[in-house]
């Protein structure tokens, strides 16, 4: 993709990139390549001992992805600066969404430059399932109703043998097929919701008459920062 100065406007979304879902094995590869062998990124016991709910990604892993996004957009020779604050954790199973928004275009020392607000957001599935609703309900209204849903998890686990795990999901004005609800690992791992988390629903397929497949996701900012790039002539 060739970025053209005249096509860029302040407020526009510039570069974007998605990566994931992430696997624990990727953290090991990054640890070996990036030189950060802190066991909280590879060993669940060490991660829990350090106060985490499980293995977490290196903060610099998402940070490295931001660099990749910028290089892919304008070329390495035009990346002048980038960085940000790590505001949330990234875990196995998460999908990383990276994005830059153009906040300023200007010329300095004969160079055309753009300042960006950059962000890495993790998207985590809590559950996926099938539901039905009145076809006259708009997609927007349907997703709004799903996002107000209530998840119930019932675990009855006799450590000597029997395991029972019941998952239910209910949402206003929507019929949920309880037999076709699948919970993701993140449901257990992340069920203590942080105040800044954004819970959303999304359609996983096109609505077919009154039935549809949906996912409940949590969006969480992982890195929030800025970048400056030169825009090639």
């Amino acid at each position: 993709m060739v970025v053209k100065w005249d096509d860029l406007n302040e407020g526009d979304i510039g570069p974007q990139m998605d990566h994931g879902p992430l696997y624990e094995a990727e953290f090991k590869v990054y640890a070996d390549a990036g030189g950060d062998s802190n066991p909280i990124h590879q060993d669940i016991i060490a991660a829990i001992k350090a106060g985490n709910a499980g293995i977490i990604a290196h903060g610099l892993y998402s940070h490295g992805m931001l660099g990749k996004m910028l290089v892919d957009w304008v070329g390495a020779e035009n990346v002048r600066a980038y960085g940000g604050r790590m505001t949330g954790l990234t875990r196995p199973g998460d999908i990383i969404h990276l994005q830059g928004i153009i906040v300023k275009k200007y010329e300095e020392d004969g160079e055309k430059l753009a300042d960006l607000e950059i962000k890495s957001t993790t998207k985590t599935y809590y559950l996926r399932g099938e539901g039905s609703a009145d076809p006259s309900m708009s997609d927007e209204e349907l997703l709004g109703n799903l996002a107000q849903g209530r998840i119930t998890v019932n675990i009855d686990w006799d450590l000597a043998g029997e395991k029972k795990f019941e998952l239910a999901f209910e949402a206003p004005n929507v019929e949920i097929n309880q037999k076709r609800i699948v919970g993701d690992k993140a449901l257990i791992r992340n069920w203590i919701r942080a105040e800044k988390d954004v819970i959303k629903a999304e359609l996983l397929s096109k609505r077919k008459e009154n039935t549809f497949w949906f996912g409940i996701i949590v969006l969480r900012d992982a890195i929030v920062g800025t970048a400056t790039v030169a825009i090639p002539e």
């Binding site: 070996d32 390549a33 802190n38 060490a46 903060g59 660099g67 990749k68 290089v71 604050r85 790590m86």
Partner: protein
């Protein structure tokens, strides 16, 4: 804080680039240059130097390195920075700019670092700055 020297190896340049999904030949081919994100690798040892910090009694400031989290990291790349290649040696000199315990009980350490090429087969690169970094380190309660 003491500076660190990082010897660049071709296999590390390509392994790092591949670890973040880079596919361009110039970063993963036979004669690779460092991807800008490779700053993560050569700055990191300098960041880890904070674990050497001692209090006035000689005890380590950070008692449990597992409690260290990355608070933030930012890079500035000079316009005339030379490409980093196999066998280059990069010196990174970190300085603690601020250290404080926040109201939430976290120890926050702000570090600035400057990375320059210390040795290279291309003499024109020696002494050239390749990156300036700002690093935020957070130590969770119980870690200091």
């Amino acid at each position: 804080m003491k500076g660190t020297t990082f010897k660049v190896k071709k296999k590390d340049l390509t392994a790092f680039a591949k670890s973040i999904g880079v596919t361009q030949e110039q970063y993963i081919g036979d004669d690779p240059i460092a991807h800008p994100s490779f700053a993560n690798a050569y700055v990191f040892p300098a960041l880890w130097k904070i674990t050497d910090a001692k209090d006035p009694d000689g005890a380590p400031v950070i008692k449990n390195p597992l409690k260290i989290l990355h608070g933030g990291q930012a890079y500035r790349f000079p316009k005339d920075a030379p490409p980093i290649k196999d066998e280059d040696k990069i010196k990174t000199v970190p300085k603690i700019k601020n250290i404080e315990v926040k109201a939430n009980g976290m120890l926050v350490i702000d570090i600035e670092a400057e990375s320059t090429i210390e040795k290279s087969s291309d003499e024109s690169k020696i002494g050239k700055k390749v990156c300036e970094s700002e690093i935020g380190v957070v130590v969770m309660p119980g870690g200091f």
